[in-house]
């Protein structure tokens, strides 16, 4: 897919991020930039400690940059009030983490519908228990977890947990899915299954996917690849992958 002519759904300009460690100020991101276009699958690669995760957290509106802008839905996200930013994150970004990050006290179904419950509190999407439960059930069925609906995370395998996490990320049909090493904790066969589901759903829903990975094999399945080195996107790193 050629993505250069598609509209930008998420962009970062000259993002800098420093952390204070004792007396020292350490800059992790040195003016990173990125554009995620509608419906594209963008892969962010880089060595450990390159700043990928920090950049991802800034893009996901979880970490405030020291400098720079993050634009989402045409709004400069870090200039918004905290609750507006939280509502934006809830409605337009779906997260898939390496460590799944499901709430252990909720069942698979409840974990999936949780973003819809939160959206209801902002009034952006009214929570319709019947509708959202039915959607969650459909997804679980498609993901091969029909008989795991009422299981809690500790009763599921790693692959099953990640599939629940993908369903949770997609329940509100967000424009953007941010996946941080989604197969990092899984064996190859399970990881492939999970990725297949993630890619299928992304295509089905016309969402944009920002994928952070070390896996070059995985990068080949994306539309574009960016490489991060020392807190910056390498100028000549962009690779367009013909699909």
């Amino acid at each position: 897919m050629t993505t250069s002519n598609l509209e930008t759904v998420l962009s970062a300009e000259d993002v800098r991020k420093s952390f204070r460690v004792g007396e020292r100020e350490i800059e992790v991101l040195h003016g990173a930039h990125l554009e995620l276009r509608a419906r594209e699958r963008l892969c962010l690669m880089g060595a450990s400690g390159a700043g990928k995760s920090t950049f991802l957290h800034v893009l996901g509106l979880l970490e405030q940059p020291t400098e720079g802008r993050v634009q989402l839905q045409g709004k400069s996200a870090w200039e918004l009030a905290m609750s507006e930013r939280a509502a934006l994150r809830n409605r337009h970004i779906g997260f898939v983490f390496q460590a799944y990050h499901l709430l252990p006290d909720l069942s698979a179904l409840e974990n999936i519908t949780l973003p819809a419950r939160i959206a209801h509190s902002y009034g952006t999407v009214p929570f319709d228990k019947k509708l959202h439960t039915s959607e969650a059930r459909d997804m679980l069925e498609r993901f091969g977890l029909k008989d795991r609906i009422n299981h809690r995370p500790n009763q599921l395998s790693g692959g099953e947990r990640q599939r629940v996490a993908i369903a949770r990320a997609l329940i509100l049909k967000p424009e953007i899915v941010i996946a941080d090493e989604p197969t990092g904790n899984l064996d190859t066969a399970t990881g492939d299954k999970v990725l297949e589901i993630l890619f299928n759903e992304q295509s089905r829903r016309n969402a944009s996917l920002l994928l952070v990975t070390h896996d070059e094999r995985l990068a080949k399945s994306c539309d574009r690849v960016l490489v991060m080195v020392d807190g910056q996107i390498e100028a000549d790193s962009e690779v367009m992958i013909p699909q």
Partner: protein, 454 residues
């Protein structure tokens, strides 16, 4: 919506919350139950204390005035002055005197020997109260006290004339008849017709020195006022008989006054009657506290019970405070345990304020469940306290509430709705305050740090 959903879920999944709920339940329940019982005791004691007295007690001081005059020896002028007063319903003259009750068969010489005994353990103090029966019935609750059931009751043959010899007593009569307190009868193994020897000292009309005097009486029956001290020491007899026993030195010591509307008059009656009676020269002086309401007469006793109630309230409120501390500790623990959940919720779009609300609400669920359960059990316990006490006494084989000591047929208990509401609101407020710090701590967690938490 999700705040309520998650807080309820966390509450149910973490059983440690039960400890917080139980702590509040115990604190609130105990506070309601004990305060209800203390209120019951206070009300019963007020009734009991008032029952043996009347609304107002006039106790003229027998001291010479500046001009050398004394208050009248006879009660008649005082009674005649009081009876037409529109505020007054009934009056009764008392002649109250202290002395010793001697065991049956003892004579005066033995009593004199006993009086010299420094241990004095064999001596039974007695308060002789001379009354005019019909006046007393109208002004006090003596009739009820004569008719009140009790385990050791010896009923008088004729309540209307309690000092009359029983019909079955056909011996030639030398002695007058008296009515003794039920506890006194129990302690001294007295029975109907038992001969008792009363000993006292009386100022000699000739020399003004104290001289011993004794007289034998027969027991006509018992009364049960409900006030242990009185039931243990008081002996009622005819006022003129007692005056005669005291060599006619005194005719009365007090006048008891029953008002038509005590609640309306209670604030002003002492001052009003004092000045009126002082002006009529029927008491020593208007400012010498000779006219007192029953509440000021027994102020220290009622004050002690009230103080006990306040102290008990403070002590039990500490239990609620400890329970609130427990909720604080549990919530702090949950915040530490749920760090990752907090990060996840933030990633899914929750705000710090809603994270704070989740933990505040867990505290409030603890408080609401604890308070509801505590209020229910506390009220139930207060209402069923007799059954609970009897079951506990039977199970533990220990008499927890000795009805003979307290002289109540039941454990008195009055549940005050205002007190229940105040206790529940207090517990809710305390728990809410103690939940604020953990909830605030949770809301301050950085989402990325929280997500990285293991």
């Amino acid at each position: 919506m999700y705040v309520r959903f998650l807080s309820w879920r966390y509450l149910l999944r973490r059983r440690i919350n039960l400890i917080g709920v139980m702590g509040i339940t115990v604190g609130v329940g105990a506070l309601i139950m004990i305060l209800s019982i203390m209120t019951g005791f206070l009300e019963e004691s007020r009734k009991t204390v008032r029952g043996s007295l009347s609304d107002v007690i006039i106790q003229p001081l027998n001291l010479p005035r500046a001009d050398g005059s004394l208050v009248p020896k006879s009660a008649e002028r005082l009674l005649e002055h009081l009876r037409p007063d529109p505020r007054i319903e009934a009056v009764s003259a008392h002649l109250s005197w202290g002395g010793i009750l001697l065991q049956t068969g003892w004579d005066v010489s033995e009593s004199e020997y006993r009086l010299k005994d420094p241990q004095g353990s064999e001596l039974a103090f007695a308060q002789f109260v001379g009354i005019d029966v019909q006046d007393e019935f109208q002004a006090t609750q003596l009739r009820e006290a004569l008719e009140r059931e009790g385990e050791y009751r010896i009923p008088v043959d004729d309540v209307e004339n309690p000092f009359a010899a029983p019909a079955t007593h056909d011996e030639p009569e030398f002695y007058e008849w008296v009515v003794v307190g039920e506890q006194m009868a129990r302690v001294h193994n007295l029975y109907k017709g038992a001969l008792i020897n009363l000993v006292t000292v009386v100022p000699s009309p000739m020399t003004d020195e104290l001289e011993p005097s004794s007289r034998k009486f027969r027991v006509a029956g018992t009364f049960r006022s409900g006030e242990n001290e009185i039931d243990l020491s008081r002996i009622y007899l005819d006022r003129w008989e007692l005056s005669d026993f005291l060599s006619d030195t005194h005719e009365f010591t007090q006048v008891l006054v029953k008002l038509k509307d005590y609640e309306q008059e209670r604030e002003t009656i002492e001052a009003d009657l004092s000045s009126e009676l002082a002006e009529a020269r029927l008491i020593h002086h208007a400012k010498s506290m000779e006219v007192r309401t029953w509440e000021s007469f027994r102020g220290p006793l009622l004050g002690a019970i009230k103080n006990e109630r306040v102290l008990m309230g403070i002590m039990l409120a500490l239990i609620v405070l400890v329970a609130a501390f427990t909720v604080f500790a549990i919530l702090m623990m949950m915040v530490t345990e749920k760090r990752r959940d907090i990060g996840i919720l933030t990633a899914l779009g929750a705000t710090p304020r809603s994270i704070m609300s989740i933990f505040l609400m867990i505290g409030m669920w603890n408080a609401l469940l604890g308070c509801s359960l505590g209020a229910f059990l506390g009220i139930l316990g207060a209402i069923k306290i007799d059954a609970i006490e009897q079951w506990l006494s039977a199970t533990l084989r220990v008499q927890i509430f000795d009805r003979e000591v307290y002289l109540f047929d039941h454990i008195p208990s009055v549940v005050s709705p205002i007190a229940v509401v105040a206790i529940v609101l207090g517990a809710l407020l305390a728990t809410a305050l103690f939940s604020v710090i953990p909830a605030w701590t949770a809301s301050r967690l950085h989402p990325i740090d929280a997500l990285r938490a293991e």
